[in-house]
């Protein structure tokens, strides 16, 4: 899962990036509205954390521009102005949820997970594919109710496929969403991790659609 963090305060930006990376997300960061807008406009993100008060271009304008251009990734708004009128303005501009400052990063993470899950069309925090269950709240995978040990790369890959269950996900899409920009797109890492996941779980959990990609 690839997340964009747009926050002008360097320390808060760093904390959010650290927290998200630790939670297994691939994170891009921006420190002002223009940079954030450009990244959100050109890169495929699974979610964006967007501060409202930003230099160069404020968060509301950034969000309005994205929505106008058809960019519909879930956006979690960060706001220090916690009056409802400010929240209404954010939601009306196209935000999907908000977190008022000051916050604990755990709260941001919880909201972000819920947003990603909801955006993929899942109501519950547990997504089930056959005998495999992904608990998005706890970042855990169980197979026939027994926990399965996965590395962070394996978890990210499985989580993305399960979030998009039933859909064919191309190799390029997986690379874009699971790795940062300087990742070597020609490497066969994806194939390696799909193979390892198939070994840990039943092989049929990830189906290869020849010439197109993979499907959970």
């Amino acid at each position: 899962m690839r997340i964009l963090v747009v926050e002008d305060d360097e320390n808060l930006n760093r904390q959010l990036v650290e927290m998200l990376t630790e939670a297994g997300y691939v994170v891009d960061k921006a420190f002002d509205g223009e940079e954030g807008h450009f990244l959100g406009d050109t890169e495929p993100y699974d979610a964006v954390i967007l501060d409202i008060g930003l230099p160069e271009m404020d968060g509301i304008t950034v969000l309005e521009n994205w929505r106008r251009d058809g960019r519909n990734m879930p956006v979690l708004m960060l706001t220090a102005r916690d009056r409802w009128s400010d929240k209404v303005a954010g939601i009306d501009a196209g935000a999907d949820d908000y977190v008022a400052k000051p916050f604990h990063t755990e709260e941001v993470l919880a909201r972000l997970r819920a947003l990603i899950r909801r955006a993929a069309g899942h109501a519950s925090s547990e997504i089930v594919v056959g005998d495999v269950c992904l608990d998005t709240k706890q970042s855990r995978v169980t197979y026939k109710d027994r926990p399965v040990k996965l590395t962070s790369h394996e978890f990210r890959l499985l989580s993305y496929l399960i979030h998009h269950k039933g859909e064919v996900v191309s190799r390029t899409e997986l690379i874009e969403h699971l790795y940062d920009q300087d990742f070597d797109k020609d490497s066969n890492t994806i194939e390696v991790f799909v193979g390892r996941l198939r070994k840990k779980l039943f092989p049929e959990i990830i189906e290869t659609v020849r010439g197109l990609g993979y499907r959970a």
């Binding site: 305060d9 320390n11 808060l12 904390q15 927290m19 008060g53 220090a80 102005r81 916690d82 009056r83 409802w84 009128s85 929240k87 209404v88 939601i91 009306d92 999907d96 949820d97 908000y98 977190v99 008022a100 400052k101 000051p102 916050f103 604990h104 990063t105 709260e107 919880a110 909201r111 909801r118 109501a123």
Partner: protein, 473 residues
């Protein structure tokens, strides 16, 4: 002194001054007119007496034998009526007891003719005197002397008239004058009253407009006023604008302060979180305390900023609709239902405060709701109003179908910063902000057991409606 005599009312002062002036002017005019009329009546009376006297003197003569001849006819029936107070007579000057000729009103024993006056004649051989006759009337008499006949006998004629006629004419004139002046005075005062009312109407209109501004029916004094009042209206509008801009500036600065403090606080809180060091823990605790204090005082400042400010009028339904739309987006799994809300009902206060109330309570309800949140806004029955004399109130109910709270928990829940469920996100400040806003507006906030099985929040707030707006105008 002036204000003690005249109460503090322009209309009363103008009316009182006009009444006093009208009374004095009419009284003076009446006295002058009456005096002039009396003088004229007396002069005419005098002329009449002279005319009669000359007529009398020309209508008798003395013959060669020294006898008085002629039968004077004055042509006035009053001279022929006994006791009328009108007489004439002719005597020889040195024989006053013998009336040579006399009017019909002096006949036999029945006469009220007064005794003659001892007074010298003037250089025209005339004298005028006034005496009281036996009837008690003032009689004005003119006597004149003339020489007639061969022997130059000195004759004396007397013509007398009753001044009662003058008095009657003057009284009649005074009565007519008084009646006219009373009607004229009353008319003048009435007309003045209307003139004052019409003249002061723009002032009353300005007062009404100002009342409307305070009630929140309008934003400023926007009518057209006469040149005398227009500067005042302009100044009041400028004052309203200044007031608003001060409040707006204060709000903006409060918001800026919030923004400036909250980001570094978030950084500190997150940086020390999870650290095992005692110092880090201490910093974390203190930062949490600062966070809560900043929030508390920012909220207080925000609400206090609205006290004493001209009250605005916020229609409830649009605000509710907006927040339901937002809540539906934030919690797509929960169904939000507006069970009742009269489109005419309006909150007597700031839109932002109503947003805070709806936003915080609906957000709380959505966190605990199983499936649905129901909102109801209705007029509060008069007998259930919270503070005495505040008839115009509305009742907002927001309830969910979640697990609800026990009575003890409900009491605890409204205290600032208390969070009953730490597993749910939020600062725990929502309910106490709602309570503070409700208190600030003289309303009430309480938690009850809801009909859907969950928690029901009830808020009483001052209201305005289209109908009350119309009656207050």
């Amino acid at each position: 002194m002036f204000s003690r005599i005249f109460p503090n009312s322009l209309a009363y002062r103008l009316l009182a001054m006009t009444t006093i002036w009208t009374f004095l002017a009419l009284l003076g005019t009446g006295l002058i007119l009456s005096t002039v009329f009396r003088t004229n009546a007396q002069r005419d009376f005098e002329r009449l007496l002279h005319a009669h006297a000359f007529n009398l003197m020309g209508s008798f003569d003395v013959d060669d034998a020294g006898q008085v001849t002629g039968a004077p006819n004055m042509g006035d029936p009053r001279f022929e009526t006994p006791l009328s107070g009108w007489y004439w007579s002719v005597i020889v000057a040195d024989k006053p007891a013998k009336l040579l000729l006399h009017s019909g009103s002096i006949s036999g024993d029945v006469t009220d003719m007064p005794p003659p006056v001892r007074k010298p004649f003037d250089d025209r051989f005339q004298r005028v005197s006034e005496v009281t006759n036996t009837m008690g009337h003032r009689i004005r008499q003119l006597e004149a002397q003339l020489l007639l006949g061969e022997g130059d006998t000195l004759f004396q004629v007397l013509v007398a008239g009753n001044t009662l006629d003058i008095e009657e004419a003057v009284s009649s004139f005074n009565r007519t004058l008084a009646l006219f002046f009373v009607l004229f005075g009353a008319g003048t005062i009435l007309a003045t009253h209307f003139v004052i009312r019409i003249g002061l109407r723009p002032l009353a209109a300005a007062t009404d407009a100002l009342h409307d501004v305070r009630e929140g029916h309008r934003e400023k004094l926007d009518g057209v006023y006469p040149v005398e009042i227009q500067p005042l209206a302009g100044e009041i509008n400028a004052l309203i604008d200044t007031n608003r801009s001060i409040v707006d500036r204060a709000r903006t600065q409060v918001g800026n302060l919030a923004h400036a403090l909250k980001t570094p606080l978030a950084v500190i809180v997150n940086e020390v979180r999870g650290s095992k060091q005692d110092q880090a823990n201490l910093i974390g605790e203190q930062a949490e305390l600062m966070k809560s204090q900043v929030q508390t005082y920012l909220d207080r400042a925000r609400i206090a900023a609205q006290r004493d400010v001209i009250v605005s009028r916020t229609p409830v339904l649009p605000v509710l609709t907006k927040l339901v739309r937002v809540m539906q987006r934030l919690s797509p799994d929960v169904q939000f239902e507006v069970a009742e809300c009269d489109p005419q009902i309006a909150f007597r206060g700031e839109e932002q405060d109503l947003e805070e109330i709806f936003g915080n309570l609906m957000e709380n309800a959505s966190r605990f709701a199983a499936n649905s949140v129901r909102v109801r806004v209705a007029e509060q029955p008069f007998e259930q109003t919270v503070a005495a004399g505040t008839a115009q109130q509305m009742r907002i109910e927001i309830e969910d179908d979640g697990p609800g709270l026990s009575e003890d928990e409900r009491k605890k829940a409204v205290k600032r910063g208390i969070r009953l469920d730490e597993s749910q996100p939020g600062s725990g400040l929502g309910l106490s902000i709602v309570r503070d806003i409700a208190t600030e507006y003289g309303g009430d906030f309480k938690l009850e057991k809801g009909e859907l099985g969950g928690l029901k929040a009830v808020i009483i707030l001052p209201k305005l409606s289209v109908s009350s707006n119309a009656t207050s105008k």
